[in-house]
Amino acid sequence: MKHVSIPSGADLGALYRQVAGDYPKFFKMDVLSKLGFLLTEMLVADEANRFQPREDRAVLVFSREGCVANDRHYAASMPDFPSPALFVYTLPNIVSGEIAIRNKYAGETSAYVLEKYDEAQLWALVREAFQDRCTKSAVVAWIDCPSDTVWKADAWLVGREEILK
C-alpha cells in the first residue's frame, strides 16, 4: 500500500506550494487539517479522475492528542474575543472533513483517538471500517500534533482487497 509522511517541523507552506498550490483555504486550517490535507495530496495526486465525486472511499484519521494544539489557540482567544474561525477546528474530525471536501469524498469519515500508536489496534479498526459494504478504499492517517511545530504524520492509501486479504 502507498505510504507517505511529513517530517516533524517541516515548512508546511512550502510543502503546500510544492504539492498543491491551488487551494488557498489551506491557510485557514489548523495544523492537524494542514497535515491531513498535505498527506492526502501526496497520496492521491496522480490518481486518474481524482476529483470525480465518490462515495466508495473512506477517510479514517487517528491520533492521541486530537486537536489539542488548536484547542489551546482557541482557549487563548476566549478572554478577548472567542474566535469562531478557531472554534470550528476544535474537533479531531475536521481534518477528515477537509480531506473529503477537497477530494469530493462522500463516503465514511471517522476520527479515532488512541492511547498510543499501536499498529495492531489501528489496523484492526481500519479492517472493521471496511464492514461498510460501500467502502472500497480508504485514506488512513496517523496525525499526532501536540503543538504547531512537533508532530508525527503518516498516511496510507489502502484498498479493500489488500486490507481484507
Binding site: 465525486p53 462515495e55 477517510v59 492521541r64 492528542e65 486530537g66 489539542v68 484547542d71 489551546r72 482557541y74 482557549a75 476566549m78 472567542p82 474566535s83 469562531p84 472554534f87 470550528v88 476544535t90 474537533l91 479531531p92 474530525n93 475536521i94 477528515s96 472533513g97 477537509e98 473529503a100 471536501i101 477530494n103 469530493k104 469524498y105 462522500a106 463516503g107 465514511e108 469519515t109 471517522s110 476520527a111 479515532y112 483517538v113 488512541l114 492511547e115 498510543k116 499501536d118 489496534q121 484492526a124 479498526l125 479492517r127 472493521e128 471500517a129 464492514q131 461498510d132 459494504r133 460501500c134
Partner: protein, 380 residues
C-alpha cells in the same frame, strides 16, 4: 453477518437516572433546560448537578456511572479480554486545558481502569455524531469476532470553552429550543452520559434465548424486548466543515445505505438530530424527503436534553427504544408549527405505534452524518 444486541443500558441525565425515568420525563415534556448566567451573555442549557462531587473529572465520573449501570443491567463482568470499550466524547476534560493532560485517550484509559476493563479502549470523536459512530464501532468490533461484548459509553460536560464557542458561531438560542419549528432560532447545550452494553449473537443462538436480566428486576412476562442494532452508516457531505449540506447529501446517503434493510411496515419513526438551528433541521427535512421517508413519524429530543454532544447518539437511542417498547412515538418538545420546506411528519403530540423498528439520525461539524437502524429482536 453476526447479529448485535443491546443487553444493558445506563443513563445519567438532569431529568432522570434510569432509562425508564428519562422516558417518563420526555413523555411528560419535562426538561431541565434553564437560563444560566454568564458573561458576556447567558445561555440556556440542560446541566447536571455537581452537588456532592469533588473528584478530578466530572466528565469521567458520569461516563463511569452510566457504564456501570449498563453493565449491571447486562449482568456482565467487564474484566475479560473479550470485552471491549468504546468511548464517545467530543471535548471531554477540555475545561482543564491549561493544567492537565486533557487528551480523550488518557480519559478513556482511566475510565477503562475504573470499570475494570482490560482490553485497549478506543475513542470515537466524530463531532456531534460521535455517539452513533461509537455504537457502529462497537457493532463492528463484535462482528470482527475479536470481542463477545462491547461497552459503548458517551458523555459530555459543558464548559466555558464550548459555550463561548457556540456563542461565537451565534448558534445558541436563549429560549428552550424548538426543533423543526417555524420560530426556531438555535440550539441549547446539554450534559449527560449514556451507555449500552452490546453483545454478539453467539453461534447457535437465535439471539434472544440466553440473556438473563439481573435477578428480581422484572417478572419474566414483564421483561422488555431485546433490541438489535442492525446496521449503520457514516457519510460525509463533502461540502463544508461547519455548514450543513443544502442537499442533505451525507444524511441522505447514510439513510440510503440502510433503506434496503428497513421493513417499512414496521418502521415506527425516525429520531432525527433536530438541533433547532435553521440549517440543520432544513437539511434533515431534505434528506428525509430524498430518502422517501416523508410519511414516517419524526421526532427530536433536543427540547428535553439540549444537545448532549458525545452522549446524544446513545441517550436518544435508549429513549427511542423505551418509547418503542411502550408503543409510542414521543413528541418533539418545543415544536408546534412546521418551519422547514419539506412536509416532514414532525410530531408535537405523542402518538401510538405498533412499529418495531426505528432509525436514529445525527449530523455534525466536519460535514459528517450518521444513520443507525434498530429493530426489536424478540422477548428478553
Amino acid at each position: 453477518m453476526t447479529k448485535v444486541f443491546c443487553t444493558g443500558c445506563g443513563v445519567v441525565t438532569p431529568v432522570g437516572d434510569t432509562p425508564e425515568a428519562v422516558f417518563l420525563a420526555v413523555r411528560a415534556g419535562r426538561s431541565a433546560l434553564q437560563l444560566y448566567p454568564a458573561r458576556p451573555e447567558p445561555y440556556m442549557a440542560s446541566l447536571l448537578s455537581r452537588q456532592g462531587f469533588n473528584g478530578p473529572s466530572f466528565f469521567e465520573h458520569i461516563a463511569i456511572e452510566a457504564a456501570r449501570k449498563a453493565l449491571a443491567q447486562a449482568g456482565l463482568d467487564p474484566s475479560g479480554p473479550r470485552v471491549g470499550l468504546v468511548l464517545s466524547a467530543i471535548k471531554g476534560n477540555v475545561e482543564q486545558i491549561d493544567s492537565e493532560d486533557v487528551s480523550l485517550a488518557a480519559a478513556a484509559a482511566r475510565i477503562a481502569a475504573e470499570l475494570g476493563v482490560t482490553s485497549q479502549p478506543v475513542v470515537v470523536s466524530n463531532a456531534c455524531i460521535s455517539g452513533l459512530a461509537a455504537l457502529l464501532q462497537g457493532m463492528r468490533m463484535l462482528r470482527s469476532g475479536a470481542y463477545d461484548h462491547v461497552i459503548v459509553v458517551g458523555a459530555e460536560v459543558q464548559s466555558r470553552f464550548i459555550v463561548t464557542g457556540f456563542q461565537s458561531l451565534k448558534a445558541l438560542s436563549l429560549q428552550a429550543c424548538k426543533p423543526f419549528d417555524a420560530a426556531r432560532d438555535g440550539l441549547n447545550l446539554g450534559e449527560a452520559a449514556a451507555a449500552m452494553v452490546l453483545r454478539a449473537e453467539m453461534p447457535g443462538q437465535a439471539g434472544h434465548d440466553e440473556v438473563t436480566a439481573p435477578d428480581g428486576v422484572m417478572a419474566d412476562t414483564d421483561r422488555p424486548s431485546l433490541w438489535e442494532l442492525v446496521d449503520g452508516a457514516v457519510r460525509n457531505d463533502a461540502n463544508h466543515i461547519s455548514g450543513p449540506s443544502r442537499t442533505g447529501e451525507g444524511s441522505y446517503n447514510a439513510l440510503k445505505y440502510l433503506l434496503p434493510l428497513v421493513n417499512r411496515e414496521q418502521l415506527a419513526f425516525v429520531n432525527v438530530h433536530g438541533t433547532a438551528t435553521r440549517y440543520n433541521d432544513e437539511m434533515e427535512a431534505i434528506a428525509l424527503e430524498r430518502a422517501g421517508l416523508l410519511d414516517v413519524p419524526v421526532n427530536a429530543l433536543k427540547g428535553i436534553f439540549g444537545h448532549s454532544m458525545g452522549a446524544a447518539g446513545i441517550l436518544e437511542s435508549i429513549v427511542s427504544m423505551q418509547a418503542c417498547d411502550a408503543g409510542v412515538v414521543l413528541p418533539t418538545q418545543g415544536f408546534s408549527e412546521l418551519g422547514v420546506s419539506r412536509p416532514v411528519r414532525v410530531l408535537a403530540q405523542e402518538m401510538p405505534t405498533s412499529g418495531t423498528e426505528f432509525i436514529k439520525l445525527l449530523s455534525g461539524f466536519g460535514g459528517v452524518n450518521g444513520a443507525l437502524l434498530f429493530k426489536k429482536g424478540g422477548a428478553r
